[in-house]
């Protein structure tokens, strides 16, 4: 029996997420969307909103709140037109209800409507958030965001209000100012109510555009890179198809470049030893067409004596690529707390160390001599037919 751990629990018959639908909307699609989620006839909800407007304008507030917090349904192609016939019908109905309320005085509602209003709006907001993913995002986002801007804004506003009231109370003007304050609050509140849905959608729109722009920039960068490197190399490979050695070299150098781009940390090629070893090996690989496999353990900054070590390692790679006949060269660099060691190894034909003529400077001067002059050491192990390994050791300057 196999565990099915990758399967995320899904309930296909779960209620769809609340969105404002574009098709069949009369004002903003709130009632239509809500009806879809509740599996009701939208007419019922529309009438409900209509009747609630009579009670202290509660229907308008509820509708505006849902309009503001509910995302719009994403539609491809042109927006479906609003159903103006229904709009007119509901408009007439609404006027009748308002007129009735005004005449009978039922719209005053009295003190009993306020708890209903508060409870109703709270319930609406809870219901509106009934999407688990969204709720989770809000919860986790709250911890981070609240601490930053919200708390600051709230505390600031609170301070201003307390300060203003304190000043008015101290100067004995509070009673006089009360009428003016109430008037201002009503006007500002009204304007906010009108502008809020528009502002909210503006913010959402801006955020979506921003994400889209970042994504496009990233895509453009990847495309540019692929074009400059991979496509270019593929063209070169087709033009050199007759020369298998050149094809291998091109493919290999492109592979290395792509790997570096994908996996290696961006770093200055001459700042640290590991990066410098990779660069040197890449250059010799390109020059001689023999793959060089590099393994680096640890890393440290380059200094003068490590620069000499690098030069000696380069010479060892050149020798292996030129003379050994091995199909691949292994380079291993290890940085330890007190010393740095580099091994360059091939499984090629090897040679007799004592038979190397005295005037050949490659090994004696460029490798052994250079290492010793800089306080390091070099050891060459080779047998005819048994490959060659050059071991370079340099003490680290502390």
């Amino acid at each position: 029996m196999l565990r099915e751990m990758s399967e995320t629990p899904t309930a296909p018959d779960a209620a769809p997420r609340l969105v404002r639908t574009a098709s069949g909307r009369v004002v903003a699609g709130v009632a239509q969307g809500a009806a879809d989620q509740l599996r009701l006839d939208p007419v019922v909800l529309r009438l409900g909103f209509l009747l609630l407007t009579v009670v202290n304008g509660l229907g308008v507030v509820a509708y505006a709140a849902l309009w503001m917090f509910t995302p719009k349904e994403q539609v491809k192609g042109p927006q479906p037109a609003r159903d103006w016939g229904q709009f007119a019908a509901y408009g007439v109905l609404w006027m009748a209800v308002v007129g009735f309320g005004w005449i009978t005085g039922a719209s005053d509602g009295g003190i009993g409507t306020w708890p209903i209003a508060a409870g109703g709006i709270g319930a609406l907001i809870l219901w509106q958030q009934a999407d688990p993913g969204r709720r989770q995002r809000w919860m986790s986002g709250a911890v981070r965001k609240v601490s930053a801007s919200w708390v600051r804004t709230l505390v600031g506003a609170l301070l201003i209000v307390v300060g203003a009231f304190g000043f008015l109370a101290a100067s004995g003007e509070l009673a006089k100012a009360k009428t003016g304050l109430v008037f201002t609050a009503v006007v500002v509140g009204g304007m906010l109510m009108i502008a809020a849905p528009w502002l909210a959608s503006l913010v959402k729109e801006l955020q979506r555009e921003r994400t889209e722009r970042i994504r496009q920039e990233e895509r453009a960068e990847v495309a540019a890179h692929v074009h400059d490197s991979v496509l270019h190399t593929l063209t070169l490979i087709q033009r050199n198809a007759h020369d298998s050695r050149e094809v291998t070299r091109l493919a290999r150098s492109q592979e290395r470049e792509l790997r570096n781009w994908l996996y290696q940390p961006k770093q200055d090629a001459d700042a640290t030893l590991a990066a410098a070893v990779r660069r040197v090996a890449a250059e010799e690989e390109d020059a001689h067409g023999v793959p060089i496999e590099i393994v680096c353990v640890g890393d440290c900054d380059l200094d003068e004596s490590l620069g000499a070590l690098l030069q000696a390692a380069r010479q060892a790679m050149v020798n292996a690529a030129r003379y050994s006949g091995a199909p691949v060269i292994s380079v291993y660099a290890e940085v330890e707390p007190d010393e740095v060691t580099v091994f360059v190894r091939d499984r090629g034909k090897g040679f007799d160390m004592d038979a190397v003529p005295a005037d050949r400077m490659g090994i004696r001067q460029s490798i052994i001599g250079r290492m010793e002059r800089n306080g390091g050491s070099a050891r060459v192990r080779t047998e005819p037919g048994d490959g060659t390994e050059v071991m370079l050791t340099m003490k680290r300057a502390s």
């Binding site: 029996m1 196999l2 565990r3 099915e4 751990m5 990758s6 790997r259 994908l262 996996y263 290696q264 940390p265 961006k266 496999e293 393994v295 680096c296 353990v297 640890g298 292994s330 291993y332 290890e334 091994f343 190894r345 499984r347 390994e389």
Partner: protein, 212 residues
Amino acid sequence: MKTVRVLIVDDHRLFRSGVRAELGPSIQVIGEAEDVESAVASIAELKPDVVLLDVHMPGGGGQEVLRRVLGAGAQVRFLALSVSDAAEDVIGVIRGGARGYVTKTISGAELTDAIIRVSDGDAVFSPRLAGFVLDAFASTEAPPIDPELDSLTQREREVLRLIARGYAYKEIAKELFISVKTVETHVSSVLRKLQLSNRHELSRWATARRLV
């Protein structure tokens, strides 16, 4: 000589047929799979000795196959085979339960050797993987929680270093004056530590290398 029954799991058809053609006569390819679902189904049905497992595949990749097959307690050995030699892929798939990791640039003969070695219950480390392990176990800032699991012995370190230098097991045995069997034992022990160690540097180290 016994033949090893192998299942190739890779989402590239060309690559699957390439591997099939390159493997030596002691390997019998009994099937192919191209994604996680078909791999899990084929392993349950065909019961191969060794599964050649690609790391990046649609539907969760090699690690998902490992989790579902080994999680269900199946006795099958995995050798991971990938173009990627990014640290988090290598370490991830080894910690997921694969007994070896080789890159797709490996030659047919070497791959055949590696498959036989894995089918015998031994571990297969590429030079790059050996380098990763040395690097991951080298950072010694925090004291190990479990000294047996969280650090390498001197001998294991020597063996890994020789693998990183490009030595084959036979050459390592000669170099250290030990038998090939002992080399295999050391490598298997390193593999066990790599899979079981809770050393937090190991994951942190792999994450730190996850840079683009």
